[in-house]
């Protein structure tokens, strides 16, 4: 009698514990699998530049732009005294603000889609040949 009472109490508890443990394991497993694709840290170049990275880019003024005077982003002229960004490689120029708003989303030249070679500016000093 006593044994059957103990069994009647013990078995459901044991069963529920097992079910609970399996459930926890599944959650952990799902969570782990879900995290895997995000695990490799994406380089900043694929998501846009941070403000710290933007600060490292060279700034110029309208009078030093070599190609167009009209900023293709806002369609206003880049005046000689206005701050500007000139993309290295393709030399397309834009207002500083216009270029940076875009670069913080996508580090490619708006005009030719030339990818901004961030390595030029963000390489750690020890890789610098100088």
């Amino acid at each position: 009698m006593l044994v059957s009472v103990i069994l009647a109490l013990f078995l459901p508890c044991a069963g529920m514990t097992i079910v609970f443990l399996v459930y926890i394991c599944l959650i952990c497993y799902a969570g782990w699998n879900h995290r895997q694709p995000d695990a490799p840290v994406k380089p900043a170049a694929e998501t846009g530049l941070s403000s710290a990275e933007l600060e490292k880019l060279p700034v110029t003024t309208g009078k030093d732009l070599v190609l167009e005077m009209e900023c293709a982003v806002c369609l206003d002229d880049v005046e000689p005294e206005q701050l500007a960004r000139m993309f290295p490689g393709c030399n397309h120029g834009f207002h500083l603000q216009c270029a940076d708003t875009w670069l913080s989303k996508n580090p490619v030249c708006p005009v030719c889609r030339n990818k901004l070679d961030t390595g030029l500016f963000f390489a750690p000093p020890e890789t610098n040949p100088c």
């Binding site: 293709a72 982003v73 806002c74 369609l75 216009c98 875009w102 490619v108 708006p110 889609r113």
Partner: protein, 153 residues
């Protein structure tokens, strides 16, 4: 009101669109929302859409020009890259958007898409399948739909 804070770029683009419209394309802003454009594209010659007048809607989101305009066909069209809701599969409207593109260039690209359907990157699976299995017949259907739905009447 949405129009009170309209960026200068949008005003400039609108003025240029109205003063120098691209051939076969017209776009005019709605009176009560300057970010909403009523667009008409003529079906390009030598394409199954020739003779058709296609209505589209174009909306410039708040982030424009940092984000692409939202464009949709209002006229029913039989095209592998346009679905039955009028949504358009075009890279420059998605990940290939750039702020140097404009309303005009977007509409010219859509006009070019009518001349060059791309069934390998479909939005309408069935139409793309039709296009690949029997292009002549699919082109006939596209012409038929143009007559039925885009006659401009």
């Amino acid at each position: 009101m949405a129009n009170s804070n309209l960026p200068r770029r949008i005003i400039k683009e609108t003025q240029r669109l109205l003063s120098e419209p691209a051939p076969g394309i017209s776009a005019s802003p709605s009176e009560d929302n300057m970010r909403y454009f009523n667009v008409m594209i003529l079906g390009p010659s030598q394409s199954p859409y020739e003779g058709g007048v296609f209505k589209l809607e174009l909306f410039l989101p708040e982030e424009y020009p940092m984000a692409a305009p939202k464009v949709r066909f209002l006229t029913k069209i039989y095209h592998p890259n346009i679905d039955k809701l009028g949504r358009i599969c075009l890279d420059i409207l998605k990940d290939k958007w750039s702020p140097a593109l404009q309303i005009r260039t977007v509409l010219l690209s859509i006009q070019a898409l009518l001349s060059a359907p791309n069934p390998d990157d479909p939005l309408s699976e069935n139409i793309a399948k039709h296009w690949k299995s029997n292009e002549a017949e699919a082109v006939e259907t596209a012409k038929e739909w143009t007559r039925l739905y885009a006659s401009g009447a």
